[in-house]
Symmetry: C2
Subunit: 268 residues, 2 copies
Amino acid sequence: MNKRTAFFISDGTGITAGALGKLLEHFPNTSFTQVRMPFTDTLEKIKSARTSIAQAKDEDNARPIVIMTLGNLELRSTLKESDAYFIDLFNTFIDPLSDELGQKPLRGAGIAHSVMGSKYNDRMEAVNFTLNHDDGMTNSGLEEAQVILVGVSRCGKTPTSVYLAMQFGVKAANYPLIPEDFERGTLPAALNKHKDKIFGLTIKPERLHAVRNERRSGSFYASLDNCRNEIATAENLMRHAGITWADSTSRSVEELSAIILEKIRRPA
Amino acid sequence: MNKRTAFFISDGTGITAGALGKLLEHFPNTSFTQVRMPFTDTLEKIKSARTSIAQAKDEDNARPIVIMTLGNLELRSTLKESDAYFIDLFNTFIDPLSDELGQKPLRGAGIAHSVMGSKYNDRMEAVNFTLNHDDGMTNSGLEEAQVILVGVSRCGKTPTSVYLAMQFGVKAANYPLIPEDFERGTLPAALNKHKDKIFGLTIKPERLHAVRNERRSGSFYASLDNCRNEIATAENLMRHAGITWADSTSRSVEELSAIILEKIRRPA
């Protein structure tokens, strides 16, 4: 397999540049070594980056990919003297956007991910809310939730809730559906008045069995029969309650969150 | 203030396109309305997107910014018939990268953020680990942690740990420094054998006072005097134990995480 090194070089956190690293997944025939260099904000650090780029080129026998966000023009041009394939987010986006908007950009380091950024406090508040309303921990404050995820134990509610909060500032509570709900055949009473913001997650029995087995190997809880039963009953319960759900089996938290946001923002 | 609408239109989650939305923070004199349209993978949805773009243009009296990741060529060219300023990540990145790598890209929808993506399982495992090792909840398994954050209560340990896990797949435990540690004047005993992976967070007393007051208004715990005391003692304790720390007062979780990753990956 071809080898390449991808550098993410930024005068700030490197998060924006790093996000573009995801686009490398479109080239599965190349094996990428990803190297992050945040806070590269002095000429000395740029020179050290150039040394690393040159070494990677020798080792891979191919020039590295350099994805960069550097506000300072001197740092930018010095870095570009390296032998590499450059994706310069300032050149590519900020400068043309500046023309389009008729406005000079802020060029300081780390602007995109500072606490001054839009919605930072909302996001942190949502993370706190979500962690305090994980796994049906409390019913108090549920009226503040923007979404309440329900589903059987270990179907992916917690990581999805946390992602919704951290990434989008959505206050996401989650509530497990457990054997006593199945026996009663209805949603937990505390959720009845919040039906309009409940979203369900389900999962394939085989996958749930594997996930639960990692934690409690050989238990009744983890057995394939019990997983099948719980899932069938949970889906019935959600169907009767008119709750939309999504299958988490082969979906990432990013995909599930995008589906859930669609539902929240454009209710049917 | 100028108004513009920024559309993020993707055949997948829209996360990669959305990440570039952060670059809009470089233009603080424009007020952006951000509209996400994930899973835009049919001609019908593209047409509906075009209608929204035209409406936004009328309302803002300026053409919208459209940041797009669409693998399908027909969908892409149909969307581009709209009157908007386009940032086409396929055109700008994937196609040139394809030339550079001498390799055709995968063009299916949603490749970047599928569960097939690199390291997805590691990330989810790290999130579980982190939530199970929040706030000194347990000492068991600390040897598996890649970093252990310490600091006074409410200085930002939890959201930073969760971000490290979710974004980077780092198993990040966190441990509060509490009055009994201050009296004893040493780190909690459970941490002694893990000193090499401890990272400290601190915060300005005024900010801590404000944060604690939101939860327990008027308490001794939240008083400015107590906050000053706890912070001074915690910093002393960390100094004596030789622990590196960062001030969270004006840093985002993205910035703190980038600092911590630097420390983990390139120990002094």
